[in-house]
Symmetry: C2
Subunit: 392 residues, 2 copies
Amino acid sequence: MSAAPDTPFLAVDPDVLERNLTASATRAAERGLAWRPHAKTHKCVEIARRQLAHGAAGLTVATVGEAETFADAGCTDLFVAYPVWASGARAARIRALAQRTALRIGVTSVEGVRALATALDGVPAQVLVEVDSGHHRTGVAPADAGALARGAADAGLDVIGIFTFPGHSYGPGRREAVTAEESAALAEAAESLRAAGLDPVVRSGGSTPTEALSDGPGKATGSTATGPGVTAPGDIAPGDTAPGGAGPATPATPALTEIRPGVSVFHDAQQVELGVAGFGDVALTAVATVVHRDGDRIVLDAGSKTLGADQPGWISGGGRLPGHPDARIVALSEHHATAVLPAGSAVPAPGERVGVVPNHVCAAVNLADELIVVSGGEVVDLWPVAARGANT
Amino acid sequence: MSAAPDTPFLAVDPDVLERNLTASATRAAERGLAWRPHAKTHKCVEIARRQLAHGAAGLTVATVGEAETFADAGCTDLFVAYPVWASGARAARIRALAQRTALRIGVTSVEGVRALATALDGVPAQVLVEVDSGHHRTGVAPADAGALARGAADAGLDVIGIFTFPGHSYGPGRREAVTAEESAALAEAAESLRAAGLDPVVRSGGSTPTEALSDGPGKATGSTATGPGVTAPGDIAPGDTAPGGAGPATPATPALTEIRPGVSVFHDAQQVELGVAGFGDVALTAVATVVHRDGDRIVLDAGSKTLGADQPGWISGGGRLPGHPDARIVALSEHHATAVLPAGSAVPAPGERVGVVPNHVCAAVNLADELIVVSGGEVVDLWPVAARGANT
């Protein structure tokens, strides 16, 4: 299509992307879980269409603005997995969205429920109560979910279930325990809804670290948890509104009916260092130029305004260099990544291009206006980051 | 003009902005230093114009893309304070910029000099050699500046001086020592250029933490270092190409002729916690809504996709709440800031709006498409972040 652009830029490998889509779709299908990928990661209509073609039940988004972007592109089944505050201009925006899509919205407080009911003013939308499964961000305690759900139902909202984000899975060695906590919290919250006379039809969880571990109604014994697998869209389980009975070894009441992984569409350095993915699974890489070299230390022109600045305490640096897996990014400023290579390495020269895997791909994508699709060394497409900056 | 937009958004207080502009202009003028503010902080044509009206000698930028944005807006004196790699499409872009502006560019390596000379192909542009004054990012050792400058001159480039970024001033208690290191490094590098037969006319340094401390040729004894002061644009010293002799107590050969602070146009939580600014000096605030409350803990809808994720080890959290100075942001995710208030505080209720000062304002601005100018509680203007994402 055209020559590679000036650095830094974000390159997507469409073959790895396709493998990741297939892997996520397969993992969910094997368990009878609805797969509702979080579109905040890619913010990209072209990728949303591929997810839906692979059998996604719909999209998850974080903001009303993201929902508007994907609704404009024809995605009509959207879950805003966030306790949006429905006042001011946003009240009318939510109502308009509910009129043109199958809209689901999260609630976490009595006050939020009241604002949402007022905003919707009778326009139908489905509501999920957010549950805190241990991440301690938003969400109510599992035992309190029924009371909030009852309040929402009494305010005229259509409560269809519960959701949680097990974000505390982002840490070495935490995945198994957090997956169990997520299940336990959703099971307790579901029971709380039933005690309040409500049916928690949708029980939604999931994150990329726990994606391969979460149990669903149709988990097949001995199924492959992490292999890419192969599936045809027609083979995908029908979705989250018909849980249970889809496969062998069905638990009586599975804790989850739906998962919402985001990052696994691309993967990133966090997932590599958590052991969730390998460099070969990473579909998005920042392409940078070496602008300075001093012994075993190089400075690249992709800094925090390209890669993002997310750097949890457990990670080894500011991003990773797949071509130099033993290198570490020891400092990151806005337009500089300083990488140190092991003594005796072949150090890239000034002017050479180097790939960098961001720590957190959601942050990197939200800094770019477009993703450059590169296949076989050629630029084959440009995908606008349509929902970039859609924070409201 | 119009109602406040949905949260989160970035609000600029034009009165505080004006005070900050005056303070920076005054501080530079009192020392006979050229003031060349770094436009990467605001990326905003409206603010660049105000800086020039206050006597800025020109603008500093970090990328060719930023230079293009400001050149398009009529700013014709631009310093790309970065060792740009001049190849591919960027070579032609640099040449075109040099043809329509007074362009200065940084160099840090022999290879970079060669690429730049080839790219310019005889079109005049001025070059400054980057010197490492202790931040250990890009830049050559001060003693090596002369050799690189000589190589650049021999390659046909117009070497006018040296520059450094004392970024290691970002840490508690470091400002005075780092200001001294900056001066020493520039003095040594200047001597190195002279030994190579070159005149280091421009000696450019400065950062916001060191802005009030850097000595210039015309520092007046006992001048106010941090007060806002009052000055008229006509009183500003003429610029960095005529150093020396502008005021009383002129040192024989001042280390600096120019400073390039960026953040001081707005200030941010880093500057507040470093003691460089108070909350009353902060001209940009993210406006967020409380979406969740649990005891003394609140969750705001401004997360790292609004505030940025920069969080050096020495800072107290993910941003600051001027209305609740004892609160701390203990966790930040993409659309959530979790703040803990001291026990017994009046905790904002769900739905209330709260101002948040980002840790690093350059990162926050680069996430927004526009800045909302709010005066007396009313939105009075919208300023596009014209160079947002201009990373190449």
